[in-house]
């Protein structure tokens, strides 16, 4: 069933809030990065997007949020639909107003704004003062470290602290769909676990739909409802977390447990390089 170009229907998990169909992305007019990517994100669910370096995960998120244009990238084919509406022509600020918020890779905090001002900017599109105040409080609850640093310039935070700040901004926006690009990057183990708890909580309490790009596949799949695996600009495998976890290749490349020996292997014992098995090339 097609309505306004978007598709409603039979995702195994329900209504497709976001849908990408055969998306092609080209950088600088010549570099083809997404080669006909299709995926969909059901409403209210967490979808994990996995893939190796350079597979095009970040590019996918930027294509959705419209930030591609500022990097000389362009969606040249296919379509992106959010709640049935085509998205690929919209400027990023409109995308945010429609309810999609992206936490960009590599922290990207406003370095010469204070921590608090950064958090305020996360809620830029909202106008409910009370709600904003409550959400800001919630951010500080999640990350007490940030409360301590409230009046400090974000540029002086440590890497992990900046990552917390970047996530807080997303919390402030209260989007319908939150896209997180490697949220655990640079966080200490304790916090990594905490972040994933927070993501799950947001998903459950606020009913926020989440598209999660993450290298820590173990954790990502542990909270996700569905997963996609990308290689060189295409989806090569998708399914529910159980299915993915049991796939031998996924085990080997993403979970770090595969290789047949069953148990966990030591980095030290890797005697020789493993040739990466190409899934599709």
């Amino acid at each position: 069933m097609n309505i306004a170009g978007g598709t409603f229907g039979s995702h195994p998990l329900g209504y497709r809030m976001l849908e990408l169909k055969n998306v092609e992305v080209i950088y600088d007019d010549v570099i083809l990065v997404l080669k006909g990517l299709s995926l969909s994100v059901p409403e209210g669910k967490i979808v994990a997007l996995l893939g190796s370096n350079g597979a095009g995960k970040s590019t996918t998120l930027k294509a959705i949020s419209g930030l591609l244009r500022s990097e000389e990238g362009e969606v040249t084919d296919g379509g992106i639909f959010f709640e049935g509406q085509p998205m690929h022509e919209l400027p990023p600020e409109t995308v945010v107003r429609r309810g999609i918020f992206q936490v960009m890779e590599g922290r990207r905090v406003f370095e010469d704004l204070t921590v608090e001002e950064n958090i305020d900017m996360g809620g830029y599109i909202r106008n409910d003062r009370a709600g904003l105040r409550a959400d800001k409080e919630a951010c500080y609850e999640f990350f007490p470290r940030l409360r301590e640093r409230r009046k400090k310039l974000a540029g002086y935070l440590s890497g992990g602290e900046q990552q917390m700040l970047a996530i807080s901004r997303a919390l402030m926006a209260r989007p319908k769909l939150m896209m997180l690009d490697e949220p655990s990057l640079g966080l200490a183990p304790l916090l990594v676990a905490e972040i994933f708890r927070i993501i799950k909580r947001i998903n459950e309490e606020r009913k926020t739909t989440i598209l999660l790009v993450e290298q820590n596949a173990n954790l990502a799949l542990s909270i996700a409802d569905y997963g996609y695996i990308m290689e060189s600009g295409r989806v090569v495998l998708d399914g529910d977390p159980e299915k993915l976890r049991s796939n031998e290749d996924v085990k080997e490349f993403y979970l770090g447990g595969g290789g047949g020996e069953g148990g966990k292997k030591s980095y030290k014992n890797l005697k020789f390089y493993k040739r990466r098995k190409r899934w599709l090339s």
Partner: protein, 295 residues
Amino acid sequence: MEFFLQLVLNGIVVGSIYSLVGLGFVVIYKSTSVLNFAQGEFLVLGAYVCLTLTVQHQVPFFWSFLITLVFSALLGILTERLILRPMIGEPVISLIMVTLGLSSLLKAIIQGIWGTDLRPFPDIFPAEPVQIGPLPVSQGYLISLVSVTILLIIFTLFFKFTRSGVAMRATAFSQQVSLSMGISVKRIFALAWSIAAVVSAIGGVLLAGIRGGLDGAMSFFGLKVIPVVILGGLDSIAGAIVGGPIMGILENLAGGYLDPLVGGGAKEVAPFFILVLILSIKPYGLFGKVKIERV
């Protein structure tokens, strides 16, 4: 001693005009990281519009001044729409260059409409100077001193406490990240350029009133004010306000004491000399924000 005091005092009042024009630079820089080389033309354009309304169309000065401000705001919006919007996301240096192009274009438009001959500007200030201590001061300077103080307060509050103000600073840091917050960079640009154009127009009208005449050459003021904002710190409202009088004082002292010794020219050069000295102690000007460089 009286000579000295007179020089200092004159520096302060003359510098208030620098501050006023400098504010326009700071507002644009603060929200876009761009140094606007067309500032001088904004100044002249504002003054010409006001002049035409009062002289040619006999509009009372107060009203033509108001209309001028509205015109300038529209000019800012137009500039954003036609020139800056297509440049969103481009390197800052290209944006700076585009303002140079804009400066040429506006110059031509001004020449095309008003020609190059000098036009007398209506006497908008009472001719009688006001006596401050030992020195008579033109009322035009006094008005600029007052406006500068008011604008200082308004802008400081604006950038610190309003959401648009903070968003402007955010945009200056990174347009891309701002976009990802849902901040409309277009709107921010339009706002910044409108504010700058309005402030410039105020400066232009005051300056033309003080000079008593108006021609395109007055746009040199745009360039002249750059060292002032650098001295104060490019992104600091307070810096522009303080930088103006300091520059004014330096100029006057150099003019009063050095010029007779070296046969002229010191009034222009000496402030630069001191500027470099100050910068070597405070590399981001007196109040400018240190650029965060971390690894």
